[in-house]
Structure formats: C-alpha cells, structure tokens
C-alpha cells in the first residue's frame, strides 16, 4: 500500500508537471484527488489495513495528498499567470489613437483675457461694476471733465444715437455711475464694450476695455504705480519692464500712459513696437478734482486713481493675433485655436 501511495505521488506530480492548460490541470485534479480518483481509492483501502500500520500509512497518505494539492495550486497559479499575460498581450491598446476626449468648446479670447485681467484686481480687493453701452453724453463726457467743444472729444470719434445720447467711447462713465451710488471707499474694475467710429485693420468700431477706479483717503500716484506694476508683472511676466510716461486725459491729473517692454523683441525694437522697444498698454492717472466735484466727493479729503486698458490690444499681443477683425468675425478656425 505504501508503494501504491508513492506511485500515485510520482504519477500525479508527473502529470501535473506536464499540464499545459488549466483544463489539463483540472483533469489531473479529478484523476488523482477527485471522488473517483486514485488517492481516494487508496484512502478507502485504509480501512482494511491493520491498526498497527494505519497511523504511518495514514500520515503518508495525507502527505501525498498535500503534496499533490500543493503542486496543483502552484501549477494553477503559474498557468493563470501565463493566461493573464496572453490576454494582456492580446488586449494591448494603440497609444497613438486619439483619446475619447469630452467634447469641450472654446472660450472667446476676449472673455478669457478679460476674466484674467479682472482676477488680478479682484484678488487685490476690487469688485466688478458694469454700466450701459448706450450712454448719456453727461456720463461719457461732461461729468468726466470733457465739456462740449473740449478738444479731447475730437480723439473720440463718437457714435451718436440722438443729441445727448452716445455709444460710450470708453468704460470711464461707469466711474461716475458708481461714485454717484456710494461714498468712498470705492474700488471697482469695469469690463465692457466700447465704441468708436473707426474701422480698419487695427481698429474695430466695437472693442473692449477694462477700467479701474480706487478712491479713498490717502491714495497716491505711488499707489497707482505699485498697483499697475503688480498687474503688469502678474499678467505679462515678472521680467517685463514697465514705464510710466506723462500723458493727458481730461478726467485724470497727473495722467500717465503705461508702456511695457516689447514682448516680441524684448525691447530691442521691431515692427510691433515701431522700433521703440516699448508697447503702450494702458492709460491712467489721479482722479481729476473736477470729476470729484461732479461726484460730490470732497477733493481735499479723498484722492483716487483710475486706469483703463484695451482688452483687444492685450489679447492680440498675448496671442500674436494679426488683425483685430479676427476677434469679431468668429470664424471657428480662429476660435478653436484658443
């Protein structure tokens, strides 16, 4: 009987070793460990063995059973590994095929840039204010210290709706609308469409501005410089150079225009900056006393600064857009690039 057990062990391990598939292995399991299998037969025969021999044989039988079971498990694991590998081989993906990308649309560069500009000022503590596109001459000009017959009106080629009503030529009228509604402190940024009678490769009759107004006690020109330098460095990059150059706006005094070093040629001079190395990006200044007078703010108590910039120009600079026309034609081949 002992011999028989050893023989079963040898045959079984041999058969398991030769099994090349899970099916063959299962067959081996049934053959040696199944209810009608060889080992079961032997174990049944234990009943007929003498009580003296039974413990030793029983032990051996269990050893053989365990050995076969272990061999089966090991072999099964190995075969499963091989099968999984085969499957993985078959299921390999083509890395070059495009992914199933969620169908995202594209935001218009004007609104993207506007949002980014606003965010810088919102973080500093400004809030957004808006006003109407169709505006009274009073808000667009008179209350901004630009009375009728003021030469500065010439540079704003204005669309008229009727006497006293215009399409706003800048976002500055919102300054007065906000100041009329509240007492200082005032800290607003104003995005909006503005209009001028002008149409060529570099002018659109409708374009976008972002305006800023800060009024409180003790606001200085140095604060204006600090705020706008922070803005330029955040938006255009920390290595961009900034200069404030005297200029004229009827509603600020002192006034300045802000130039940044040309992003295209890094200040060396090129066609974009007209070989000056600088690009004008915004106008600003300290709120004019006359404007405070219109707003009923005490000029001696409060000071303030205001600034305004053209979103289109900034978007065009940033994205190297060749003509302002692209922004409003809305050709999908343009929009889908952003």
């Amino acid at each position: 009987m002992k011999d028989k057990l050893e023989e079963i062990r040898a045959t079984a391990l041999g058969a398991i070793g030769r099994a090349e598939s899970l099916d063959a292995l299962e067959q081996a399991r049934v053959e040696f460990l199944g209810r009608k299998g060889g080992l079961t037969d032997v174990l049944r025969g234990l009943r007929d063995v003498s009580p003296e021999e039974r413990p030793a044989l029983g032990k051996l039988a269990n050893e053989v059973k365990d050995a076969i079971a272990n061999a089966l498990d090991e072999c099964k694991a190995a075969l499963e590994g091989k099968e999984a590998e085969k499957r993985a081989q078959k299921d390999r993906v083509d890395l070059s095929l495009p992914g199933r990308k969620p169908a995202l649309g594209h935001q218009h560069p004007i609104s993207t840039v506007t949002e980014e500009l606003l965010d810088i000022f919102l973080e500093l503590g400004f809030q957004v204010a808006t006003g109407p596109d169709v505006e009274t001459e009073y808000y667009n000009f008179d209350s901004l210290n630009t009375p009728a017959d003021h030469p500065a009106r010439d540079s704003h080629d204005t669309f008229f709706v009727k006497p006293g009503v215009v399409l706003r030529t800048h976002t500055s009228p919102v300054q007065m609308r906000v100041m009329e509604q509240t007492h200082p402190p005032v800290a607003v940024v104003v995005p909006g469409r503005v209009y001028r009678v002008d149409l060529d490769a570099s002018h659109s009759p409708m374009f976008w501005q972002v305006e800023g107004l800060l009024v409180d006690r003790g606001i200085t020109f140095a604060d204006l410089k600090g705020t706008l330098m922070l803005f330029v460095h955040r938006f255009f990059g920390a290595d961009v150079k900034v200069r404030f150059r005297p200029h004229f706006f009827p509603f600020t005094e002192p006034s300045a225009e802000v130039d940044i070093s040309c992003s295209v040629c890094k200040g060396k001079g090129c066609r974009v900056c007209k070989y000056q190395g600088w690009l004008e990006i915004l106008g600003c200044g300290m709120v004019h006393p006359e404007v405070f007078r219109y707003a009923n703010y005490d000029y001696e108590t409060y000071t303030g600064y205001a600034f305004g910039m053209g979103v289109d120009r900034i978007a065009m600079l940033r994205h190297a857009i060749s003509s302002i026309g692209h922004l409003y034609e809305n050709d999908l081949r343009f929009l889908e690039q952003f």
């Binding site: 669309f159 008229f160 002192p254 300290m286 006393p289 809305n330």
Partner: protein
C-alpha cells in the same frame, strides 16, 4: 508733429545723444513715436564752383561744364540744366556719391562725352519737388564744403505726439521751452530786426474788430513791396523735415513761423483787398467763400470771417480765401497775426469740414504775446528773403487783454497726491522754470501766475502734474494701497455669468462675440416678430448694415452660420452672451438686457474613430437649455411655440414661473433659405438677465435612503401624440411617494408597433426612507401606474 533736431538746436543747446534726448522728451510728456533720418544714405555731395560751360558736341540740350570741388582738377560734368552761369556754386555729387532713392553716381559717357559727377537740383537731394534747375548756393560758402551738414541732410526728425492740452508745445519754441525746464539750459528765440520805411502802415490799411468776443487780438502789418520767389535751401530743408511742401517764399515764411512759434499767420495779397482794409466780423447770412483749396463754402452768422470792405476774404483762423491768395504776381502783402476764440474755431472748422494746421493750433488756444512776436518775425524774414519793404508800425487791435491765471501750489498737497517727498524749493523751482511767475510765496505754498501760453493750467492739480513731470514719473516710488470695500454689490450677476460661460464651454459649445450692431433688414430676414423692429438707431452709422443696435442675438448668429459654413466649417456648436437693446419711450437711454443664444448645426460631436457620427437634433438643443436652467435653478416647462424664425412642431417656448424666458427650436426653412444655409440649424434664445434674477434658495440636503430600492420597468403602447413626459407625470401621481424616480429609457416606433402608436418604456425606482419595500408594495404601486396609464392614455401593456 515732426521736429527737426537741427532746427531745434537753434533754440536750445543740446549736448546729449539723440536716443537719450528722445527718451527724456518722452518721459517729459512729449512722446516720441518715431525717430527718422529722412536723408540718411545721401553721400558724396560737395559745394562746387562752375568754372566753364561749353556746348556739348553731340547734343543740343546738354552742356559740358568744368566744376571745381576742391580737388586737384575740376571735374568734367555733362549737364542738362540751363539756370547756371560760370562762377555759380552748386551742390555737386562726385563719382561714388549716393542720392535720393539710393541712386549712385558713376563715371560714364553721355552722348560720347565723359562725365565724372552730377550737379544737383533740389529734388535729387530730397529737398522738395523742384527739378527746374540746379540749386544755386550762397557764393560765400567755400568750395569743397560737404553738402550733407551744409544742407541739413544729416538732420534727425522726431515724430512726436503733442497731447491736446499742451497746444503750446506744438512748435519749436514750445518744445525748446519744455526742454529748457527739464535740462536746466536756457532757450532763446531768434532776434527780430526790421527796418521799417517812413510810411506808416495806417496810411495803407486799417483793422476793425466787430466781434471782439471772438477775436481778442488782431495784428496786421503791411509790406508795400515783396518779391515772390523760391525759398532758400535751408528753409526748404526745414519745411520738408517738418512734413511740409515748400511753395514760395511768402507762403513758406508764414508756414515756417507757424512751425517755429506755434502761431498761425496769414498773408493776403494786399492789392486784392477791397479798399485795402480788414474787418473782423461774423459772416452774414448768405455769404459764400471760395477757400484756397478751391472749394466753395456757404457761411453762417456763427462763423467768424476776415473781410475786406465788402466780402469775406478768409474764414478766420481756418483757411484763406482764393480771391485774396498770394500768388506769383503778388507784390504787396497784408500780413495777419491774430488770436481767435478756440471754441468758435472748433465749431466753424467742424461745420465746414475744414481741418487745417491753423485751425488745429487755434483750437488749442493761441498765445497773445506770441501773436506779436510771430508777426514781427515773419515780417523780418520777408524783408530778408523776399526783398520785403515793411511799412512803419503795427495795426494792433487788442480789445481784450489776456488774463493770466494765478494758481496756488501747496507743497504738502503735491507730495500727498504723488506719494513723494519733493522739497518745497525744488517744487517751486520746477514751476518757475516753466515760465510761471511767483505772485506770493510762503513756507508751505506758493501762488504762481501762469505764462500766456499755458491755457491748460487752471488749478493746483495742473501744477502738481508739472512738478511730477519734471521730478520724473520714474523717480516716484511704487507702493501698494490697502484697499477697502463697501457692502454694496455693483455687478451681482458677473460671477454667475462667468460660471455659466465655463459650464457651456465644458458642455462642448464655443463662445462667440459679435459686434452689437444690426439693421432692420436683419429682423425681417430672420422673420423675427415686428416688435424686434423697435431698434436703437445710430445717427452716424458706419454703414447701412451697422445702422442700429441689435434687438436680438439670433440674426448675428445666423450670419455667422452662413459665414462659417461657406468657409467649410460644417459643424457649429456655439453660444453668445451679450446685451440686446430696446428703446424706451419715456427714457433717454434704451433698455439693455443680457441674453444668451445658442446655435447648433451639423455633427453632434467632433468625429472620433470609435464613435458613430450623428447630426444634432432638437434634443441636443433642449439638453443645453436644461444645462442652463439647472445652472440658474429654474424649473422650466416646454410648450409648443409658433413664432418667427422657428419651425412649428420642432420648437418650444420655455416657461419659468409663468414667464416665457426662452424660445428655441429648428430654424424655419424660409429663414435658412434667406441666409443661404442648406442644413438644419437649431437656435435657442433666452433672457439670461431674467434667468439669473430667479436667484433660487440654496439647495437643501435630503438624507440618503437607508433601505434598498426596488427596480421595475413598464413598457406601454400609446398614441403617437401622447407626450412621454405626461406618462411620467401620471406614473408619479398614481404611485405616490414610494416612486422615487421615473425615467424614459426607450421610445420606439416601427416593427411590431401598430401604425399611429409608439412604445414608451419607463424605468421605475421604488424606495421608501422608512422600510424595505415588499414585493406586494411594489406590485401594488406598479398596478396603480398601469391602471392610470390605461384609463388616462388608453395605454396597453406591451
């Protein structure tokens, strides 16, 4: 304005290089937009004396000259000009020289005779258009002198922007004055020396001002004799550098003095003035003038004119009249130097459509003192360059002496506003250096009297700006203010519009932004109801198709679809957010409402190798509407719509709280045809402002059910026109609270479904928050649902 650096040096000594000077001017507020060297590249031109002129052996129209340019031998030059004589000194280009346009001088034979250079006419050196003969130079200039510096061909020209408030800077003297203050170097004006005749000007003419409100000063000078001819080279060079065309000495002198002083002058042909006198008056109704540009202008009584005894001879301060214009025959001059009211000039100039150098200067305000200097300067130049004889004395009418404004500067205030610490004496020095006089000074403040040319100065802030300019904007520190905010919110919807935009981009739509202009024809083309014809019209539109503000976003988007389809962009999934405009009878300003429009056409998604392509349909559009409604928290009902651009049966009115806040659907075929579109287009147009104003309460959390749901389906046959949504509602009604959700998972017509019927399959989820439902519970509810569907919709179970 163009500033010749050579010319500027006549008024102020400048010992810094061109780029530094340009930078300093820009930082002073005189922005240099470009630096030009108009004659750069011209070389090899020297003063030569013509030693001999011989006939050309082979050509009648040429001569052979020997010209001495200071070399060992005179140069033999074949020449076609006729205006020179032996002994004349002329600009002579030698072999290797380069002239205008890069034209290079080489030794060559001309009709068989060798020529080793060229004697130049003005145009060949870029000094005007004159090609009538050689430039004859002053005989005192040494032979061999380099013509490049001599004729100013080494000049540098700054193209500068003068801001509208600083008209006083729009001249050589004006720029020199500013630079003088900045550089701390005095400026000078050319000395005027006139030798007057014994005959007084009053004997020749008179000046009467009948409109003193519009003409504070009028100075006339009479030159009983002048000789009109070409201006000298140096004057031509400067005029050209400044962007002007030399004409003749008398006219050139008035232009030259304008550039120099900023004060416009006018020269009349004295002989053509009726009764030889001048009247400054308002135009009379019906009067007409032909200006020197040849145009005829009817005049009105608001306009100031210069008249002789009977008729207007100039539109004051804007343009002279043709009839009294100085020409080649002119021998006597009445020279005008006057000051006019800026507003009156501006209005007349606009009304007549005449913008001139003179009107530009007068609009920005003239300097009454410079008025006198300019008059004398011009008279002196006419004496020097036009053999002018100057009658004694001025005809100077000065009805309104100027008031020089006094303005106080508080030093602390300047430092407070600038955030700087500029000492009092420094501030005071800056203002004085700009020509202001001190009226009264204390330790803390100083009152100044503004110079006659500074019309822009009226208050302290103006002086503070001057302090800042001269101190240097770049020297002022950069600090960050602490920013306080008020409770009031000025743009309550801004953040939510922004989120909606991001949401729609995430949902696959591309944002568009069109001009907000439109026209009535767009409303008709898109078959919008007549109410949309009530539009805000522009008085001065760019063109007919941009003549109103839009009353709807739809026409703009349909135009865009046409454009994109024609360019081969066949699938469009886009939206636009922006205002529409509607006039209000009782208000000056129209109503501006924020709207959102969506357009879908072509494929529902970009093609993908693993997905099937399908075209967009109504339900794609409705899905977008559902996204928008969810975003704003609106509960929307969809009702059949029969309106304008939309196809009945495939369009809906979206009702929220009883209000129609959006319309949407397939665009009518007639509209598509009008827009030349040949594929289905779906459009949605919603009142975004009203949707955002719904502002629903915050969502309240509902406990997640503890007990398992029980899932059942039901599929029924109903008539085709039964809305599937009604079946869901009936199911909810019938089952009550334990029906947690009902969804339509299939709608089918076709095989196995009788004609006129459809199969609708609902998936039902039963669930109770209190207990596990038994089969009996669910079955009972299911039976109730079936019963309701049977009785209410004549449904049969499939």
């Amino acid at each position: 304005m163009r500033i010749s650096l050579n010319w500027l040096r006549e008024f102020i000594d400048i010992d810094i290089d061109v780029d530094t000077l340009a930078h300093k001017m820009t930082m002073l507020g005189i922005e240099i937009e470009a630096i030009e060297r108009p004659w750069q590249g011209i070389t090899g031109v020297y003063v030569g004396e013509i030693r001999s002129i011989e006939p050309h052996p082979n050509a009648d129209k040429l001569v052979v000259c020997k010209t001495d340019v200071g070399r060992d031998q005179p140069l033999q030059i074949v020449c076609g000009a006729t205006n020179m004589k032996v002994g004349d000194r002329v600009p002579t280009s030698v072999v290797g020289a380069k002239l205008v346009g890069g034209f290079e001088i080489a030794a060559r034979k001309m009709r068989g005779v060798p020529s080793e250079g060229m004697m130049c006419a003005a145009d060949e050196l870029g000094l005007g258009e004159d090609h009538s003969g050689l430039m004859i130079l002053d005989p005192s200039i040494p032979i061999g002198t380099d013509c490049i510096p001599l004729l100013g061909l080494d000049d540098v020209v700054f193209d500068v922007e003068i801001t509208p408030n600083r008209g006083d800077c729009a001249s050589m003297i004006g720029v020199a004055r500013e630079l003088s203050a900045l550089l701390g170097v005095p400026y000078r004006v050319p000395e005027v020396r006139i030798t007057e005749t014994s005959e007084p000007a009053t004997q020749f003419s008179s000046v009467t001002i009948e409109a003193p409100d519009l003409c504070p000063r009028y100075i006339g000078r009479v030159l009983p004799s002048v000789r009109v001819r070409r201006s000298p080279a140096w004057m031509c060079q400067r005029l050209i550098a400044a962007g002007q065309r030399p004409i003749s000495n008398v006219v050139d002198i008035t232009n030259y003095v304008l550039l120099e002083t900023g004060h416009p002058l006018h020269a009349f042909d004295y002989g053509l003035l009726e009764e030889n006198r001048v009247v400054v008056r308002r135009a009379r109704a019906g009067e007409v003038i032909i200006t020197i540009d040849g145009d005829s202008h009817p005049l009105s009584p608001e306009m100031l004119v210069i008249a002789d005894a009977v008729r207007p001879v100039a539109v004051a301060g804007i343009m002279g009249g043709k009839e009294s214009e100085v020409g080649e025959e002119t021998s006597r001059i009445f020279l005008e130097s006057a000051c006019f009211d800026p507003v009156s000039i501006r209005r007349s100039s606009r009304a007549l459509g005449l913008q001139t150098e003179a009107s530009a200067h007068f609009q920005r305000g003239a300097d009454v003192d410079m008025c006198l200097y300019a008059c004398n300067r011009a008279a002196a130049l006419m004496q020097e360059l036009a053999d002018g004889v100057v009658a004694a004395g001025l005809l100077d009418e000065h009805p309104r002496p100027p008031v020089r404004k006094t303005v106080q500067l508080r030093y602390d205030r300047a430092n407070l506003l600038l955030g700087a610490d500029i000492p009092a004496h420094t501030q005071r020095g800056y203002i004085q250096s700009l020509g202001f006089d001190v009226v009264e000074a204390s330790e803390t403040a100083c009152t100044f009297r503004a110079p006659t040319w500074r019309h822009d100065v009226s208050q302290e802030a103006d002086l503070i700006e001057d302090v800042a300019r001269l101190y240097g904007y770049d020297k002022i520190a950069a600090t960050l203010p602490s920013i306080s905010q008020v409770e009031q919110v000025f743009a309550p919807f801004e953040a939510r519009v922004r989120r909606l935009r991001a949401l729609l981009v995430g949902a696959g739509l591309t944002e568009m932004m069109h001009w907000t202009f439109s026209q009535a024809a767009d409303v008709r083309k898109s078959e919008l109801p007549d109410a949309y014809l009530d539009m805000v019209a522009l008085a001065n539109p760019l063109s007919e198709n941009l003549s109103t503000m839009r009353s709807s976003l739809i026409p703009g988007l349909l135009d865009n679809v046409t454009r994109n389809l024609h360019r081969g962009n066949g699938s469009i999934r886009a939206f636009e957010i922006g205002p529409v405009y509607k006039p209000r009878a009782d208000k000056d300003l129209p109503d501006e409402t924020l709207r959102i429009a969506v357009v879908l056409t072509g494929a529902a998604a970009s093609p993908h190798w693993a997905s099937e392509q399908r075209s967009v349909d109504f339900y794609d559009l409705k899905g977008i509407m559902e996204v928008i409604a969810d975003h704003v928290g609106a509960v929307a009902a969809y009702q059949p719509l029969e309106m304008g651009p939309f196809q009945t049966g495939q369009s809906a009115s979206v009702v929220v709280d009883g209000r129609e806040l959006a319309s949407m659907g397939l665009v009518k075929s007639t509209v598509l045809k009008a827009y030349d579109i040949e594929q289905p287009v779906y459009v949605l147009d919603a009142d975004l402002q009203a949707l955002l104003a719904l502002n629903p309460a915050a969502k309240q959390f509902e406990e997640i059910p503890q007990y398992p749901p029980s899932l059942r389906d039901i599929a029924v046959l109903v008539d085709n026109d039964v809305p599937a949504g009604a079946l869901c509602e009936a199911a909810r009604d019938a089952a009550g609270k334990i029906l947690r959700s009902v969804d339509i998972f299939d709608v089918y017509t076709g095989k196995q479904v009788p004609e006129g019927k459809k199969s609708v399959a609902l998936s039902l989820v039963f669930q109770s928050p209190e207990r596990t439902l038994t089969d009996q519970n669910t079955q009972k509810a299911w039976d109730k649902i079936l019963h309701k569907l049977e009785t209410e919709f004549n449904a049969t179970l499939r």
